[in-house]
Structures are given as structure tokens and as C-alpha cells.
Subunit: 369 residues, 2 copies
């Protein structure tokens, strides 16, 4: 009998896990938020992932629980685990992806490179940190933030008064003067085998990933992989782990964010690697041997397709865009909305990163994106 | 609004069309024969494809009808077309894939190279043909044959007495003394654009495809592509066209069989080509621009996974087989049955066809196949 993978969350990440799961001889079921979700094809249940009974009923029908996002409340996962359900990554790892204060605390304990940080419970805490860092800092809500939400730059206590008023602990970090951002994708299976892809450069616009260059140009950064491995093992991560990092003027790496699931910075791997991050995630959580992560092409560039208005779903422009040879267009079956992550393009080249980028941009233009 | 592709037949070919259709921004529905079909994931209807009302109800819910197999009765397709439904390939092309007598007739009219052949309606017809061909010939039922079924070698009228007794016209062909078999995959979209992959060598065992080498070694055979193009255009084929050919001692090509759908000989293209035959078929029938068919690797070898008994579904051996780096294992979600096409393995190499073959064989052994 083949195992069934259950994915909580019906977004594009779940959508892109469907085929690899099938190809690995597994069944896959998705608990989606609503009817029109990206992973509709395998969405066998629609319901609220913050409701214990809903999640439990879903868990009973699958062999492994994994995730499209990290928003399932920790106490629900802990209860499932206590009842013997197989949750990958486990709640003990996932808590560090859910809570940035817990993450900073743990990484510091492990001696891993992080920006200077502090927990903020009052305006005094914040002022103390600002005084130590030339009057500027990055303030974050420990939970629930994504794509630039839950993050702001503050130069005074007044800048933070609305967040401080909520009475919840906040995370404050030094504003790192980085030259660029990198991401190290890797995966660890339940048995503990670990494997990484080559490090990539990510380009963010307004806090949202816009572009990924693979490999990161002029990067000789085995240290990125070493950091990722120490995190994966130190935190007991299973499945794909994305480590977003800052590279500083002097070539130092500082860990920014963690995600314990396939990640936007790894979409290039669908075409650019022998094993995609989606296949690897399924292998890892099902405790199958990890696949080969060797690149299939010298260079690849991924561009996100963000919604431009309430009309253009990009699909209507496929007849033009598909003429651009070398560009691989992916859309997620979403309705149009300005700023929404609706798809991505990956272009590959064996000549140069610039060629790959040019091909991707041509396809993007043809999509009116 | 995105178009919906409707596939009649729920086998592995439909299964492998699901993801490409989604990636092309299309919806896909499948009319499957039964509940446990390979393409279950998108099987929105289960019913009898020889029943006009069943097929018509399915057609009403999609924008383009296409096929997993060529067994839908021609009169059903003609009726659908008369009512304005969009059938790709059309009945006027598909009749040549359904009826081998019609196919031989048409290819001869087009002046394309075929083995010597005749229509047989009596034992006298057959004896005349045998007398002309040293007393040996290949007898075929014009319709319904596949994987070696509906084909037999005859040396006397007696060898054919059971088939002759049925009173249906038969096709008789010279037994070609070939050195090997080749297959030329190509695709033509509704607008008439045409594109081919490199020609492959196929190795058959007991009339069933066992192995495909891509590209066909030592082949300098642009004539294969020219033949395929003339067939696609001459017969008005849309979608993928597979032309199976014999290569004779003196390097001549003779057309054996045609299939107007993705074909076993093209499975290598999932990993071995920029655009897979499944994606290309969807592009072609949806009248989108055709994709790039350049190889992604110098060599690839595809081995079929035929059932070995009623127990081994191969999936249970994945933990071992997935350790074989470079082998891509595909299974079709079928229950185990001896001789059944249950999956395939494609291995790629940039060094040699022998290396690719060795990797594929290793994975096959690990699956106990």
C-alpha cells in the first residue's frame, strides 16, 4: 500500500508538490483554505487549519502531515503528535519558523551568525537597542509576518508606538548594511540524511522576492551550506529548509529568515536541478532517500509574476509568451489581484546568467507582467 | 477564462498530461474507464467512451476533446464534430490511426515508404500475397490491435483460418527484414506549426516496447523527420504523432505504425527534452505555440516497467530504487499484474548511452522489475 501525504494549505507550494508525490508512488491529499485554491486538483478537504477537529479529521486520512505554510497553530500540531500522528517537520522544529524570537534565541545558542537582536517588551527596551545601533533598527512581530508584512524600520520609539501598544513581545534587530541577499536551500529526511542545492542570490522589491539568480554570481560560499546544515540538524528540521541570509561588505553571512517548506527562492530547481525542491520535500517527509541536487544547467533565473491589476491572470497572454523559447512559465491558477504572487518564470542558459535573465524578462513582458 | 482540455481515457498518458496542462494555465478533465484509473486525480467523469451520450455529456464540459487512446468509435467523434465540438486530432485524421487498412491506403497515396501490403478478404487473397513473398507475411486486424495483439506471422492460409472465418477485411504485409526499429515523435498544432524531437530507437520484446534509446545511435536520419512531417500534414494530424519505422539493411525506412497521441517511445522527453511530449500535445491541441524540443542531455534511455506478478507494484521498492542517482522512476498508480505496463524509468547521461542504460538497469533491478 502506498503512503498518503497530507498537505495543510492549498497554495502554490502544495500545488507544486502534487506531481512529485504521484511520481514517487505516493498519494497526496490537501486541506485547502477555500474552494478556489491553487492546489484544488488534490484538495480533498476544505476547512479551517486553525480548528483542531478539522485538522484532526484530515490527519486521520493520511500517513504524513506536512505544510504549504507555517501558520498552523503550534498547539494543534503538538496535540496531533501526542496522539501519534506523523507531523513533518515536527512542532519542535516548526516553532522556530513560526516564532522569530524563538528562532533568534535558538540560533544564538547554537553559535550561528545572526544580526544583533533583542526582545522588546517596552519602549525602554527599544530605546536601549536604538541607542546601541546609531538610532536605527528593524522591528518585527515575532509571528505571522511574511512578504514584508510584520517588519518595519524604526528610528524612534514613536515609530513603534502602535505595535508597542499591543503589549506583545517584539523582536528588534540591527539594520544590516548588506551588499546582497542569499538563500541556501537544503533538505533533511526523517532518517537524518541532508542535502543542499547551490546557494542562490535573491532580489527583493518592497519586501517581496522579485528575482532569484542560480547560482549566486561570484559566490564561493560553502559556509552558506555549512550554516544550513547546522540549522537543519540543530533544530531537527525535516523537509526543505530555506535559510535567507545577508552578505555583508566584508563577505560575512548573517542569517535573516528561516522557512521549513519549499520556498520561493527554490523554484528555479524545477528546471534547474535534477531534483526539484518539491520532490525533495516529499522524499524527505516520507523518509525516502534524497535525490540528486546537481544543477541541470549552468545558469537559471527565476522571476516572480506579481499581479498587475484585477484583470490580467497572465494565462490570456500565453499564446504570445510561450513563443519565448527557453522560458518556463508557471501560473498558480489564481484570480488576478495587484501585488499577488500569481506565478513565476524560470529561464535557463548554459552561456550566462545574463542570457537567462534576458529570456525570462522577454517572457515576462509578453505576459504584460 | 482559461480553456478546459478534456481527455478521453484515464490511463498513464492522460495522467502525464495533467501537470503540463495546469502549467499551461489550462484546466483538465478526464473521462476515465473506471474508478481506479491512472489519471484518477483529474478524472471528473467515469463512463463508457463507446456510449455517445456519455461522451457528449463530457464534451459539453470542456473546450477541446483529446485522447489517451485511439479506441473511441469514429462515428461518435464525427457526431460530436457535426455538433460543433472541438475534437483534436479530428476524426478525419484519427481514422488513419484507428484503421490500419485506411492508413496503408493513405500513406501509399501520399507516396510514403511502407512495406508491401494488400487487403485480404479471402484465403485466395492471402495465398496470392504469400506466393509473392516467399511464403511468409504479417497478418493484422485493421482495428483494435495494440502491443502485439492483432498481429501474427503467417506461413499458410491455415495459420489465418480463425481470423479469415470472421469475414472481416484483414491487412497483410511483407515481413520486413529490418535491422532495428526507430520512432519519430513530432507534434503539429491546430494552426499547422510542426516540430519534431530527435529520432529514437525502440526495442520491442514480444511485441511490447521494452526500451527506448534517445537519440537512436549512429542515426543520421533526417529522412525520419521528413516522413513524419509529410504524414502530419498529409493526414491533418493535430497533437503528438508517433511514427514507428523499420530500418532495413540498406538504411531504408519503412513506416510501420502510427499513433496520434503521446506515445511510449516519447516518454524519454519528460527529462530528456526541454518540452515533454505531454506538454507539447496539450500545446498542440489547445493551439498554443509549440515548445522547444532540444534535448536537455546528450543521451537518455527509457526502460518500461512491466508487471512481474500480482504483488509487486514497484512502489514498495522505492526506498532502494530512489538511491540510484540519475534514474527517474515513474509509476502509474496501477495494481500489479504480470506483463502490465505499470511504469517506466528514464536515465540520462552526458557521457554515453551505455552509462544511461546502466543507471536505468540498476534502478530496474532495485525495483525487482
Amino acid at each position: 500500500m502506498s503512503k498518503t501525504i497530507g498537505v495543510i494549505g492549498g497554495g502554490q507550494l502544495a500545488r507544486m508538490m502534487i506531481t512529485p508525490a504521484q511520481e514517487l508512488g505516493l498519494a497526496i491529499k490537501v486541506l485547502a483554505e477555500n474552494e478556489g485554491s491553487s492546489a484544488m486538483l488534490a484538495a480533498t478537504s476544505v476547512g479551517d487549519y486553525t480548528d483542531y477537529e478539522t485538522v484532526r479529521r484530515f490527519a486521520e486520512r493520511v500517513d504524513v502531515i506536512t505544510f504549504d505554510h507555517e501558520h498552523v497553530p503550534l498547539n494543534i500540531l503538538e496535540k496531533l503528535e501526542a496522539e501519534g500522528f506523523n507531523v513533518q517537520p515536527s512542532s519542535s522544529a516548526l516553532r522556530f519558523a513560526q516564532n522569530k524570537l524563538a528562532m533568534r534565541q535558538k540560533l544564538s545558542e547554537l553559535g550561528l551568525p545572526v544580526p544583533d537582536w533583542a526582545e522588546v517588551n517596552s519602549s525602554v527596551d527599544l530605546q536601549t537597542f536604538l541607542d546601541k545601533h546609531n538610532g536605527v533598527a528593524v522591528l518585527k512581530t515575532p509571528t505571522g509576518g511574511y512578504d514584508g508584512k510584520g517588519v518595519k524600520i524604526v528610528r524612534s520609539v514613536e515609530d513603534a508606538s502602535d505595535w508597542l501598544a499591543k503589549g506583545q513581545p517584539l523582536l528588534v534587530e540591527e539594520k544590516v548594511d548588506f551588499v546582497r541577499e542569499l538563500a541556501q536551500l537544503s533538505a533533511r529526511n526523517v532518517s537524518g540524511d541532508w542535502s543542499s542545492w547551490q546557494v542562490v542570490q535573491t532580489i527583493q522589491v518592497d519586501g517581496v522576492c522579485s528575482e532569484v539568480l542560480s547560482p549566486a554570481p561570484h559566490a564561493d560560499i560553502t559556509s552558506a551550506a555549512i550554516i544550513a546544515k547546522r540549522i537543519a540538524e540543530g533544530l531537527g528540521v525535516t523537509g526543505v529548509l530555506a535559510v535567507e541570509m545577508f552578505e555583508t561588505q566584508d563577505g560575512k553571512l548573517l542569517i535573516n529568515e528561516l522557512a521549513m517548506r519549499p520556498h520561493n527562492s527554490g523554484h528555479f530547481s524545477i528546471e534547474g536541478s535534477t531534483t526539484s525542491q518539491f520532490e525533495q520535500h516529499i522524499r524527505a517527509v516520507a523518509d525516502l532517500p534524497l535525490g540528486d541536487t546537481a544543477p541541470t544547467t549552468a545558469f537559471s533565473v527565476m522571476l516572480n509574476l506579481l499581479g498587475v491589476d484585477d484583470v490580467n491572470t497572465f494565462v490570456e497572454h500565453y499564446p504570445e509568451a510561450l513563443k519565448v523559447q527557453g522560458a518556463h512559465i508557471h501560473t498558480y491558477g489564481k484570480s488576478a489581484r495587484k501585488g499577488r504572487k500569481m506565478g513565476h518564470i524560470t529561464a535557463v542558459s548554459n552561456s550566462s546568467i545574463d542570457e537567462a535573465r534576458l529570456i525570462a524578462l522577454k517572457a515576462k513582458e509578453a505576459l504584460h507582467a
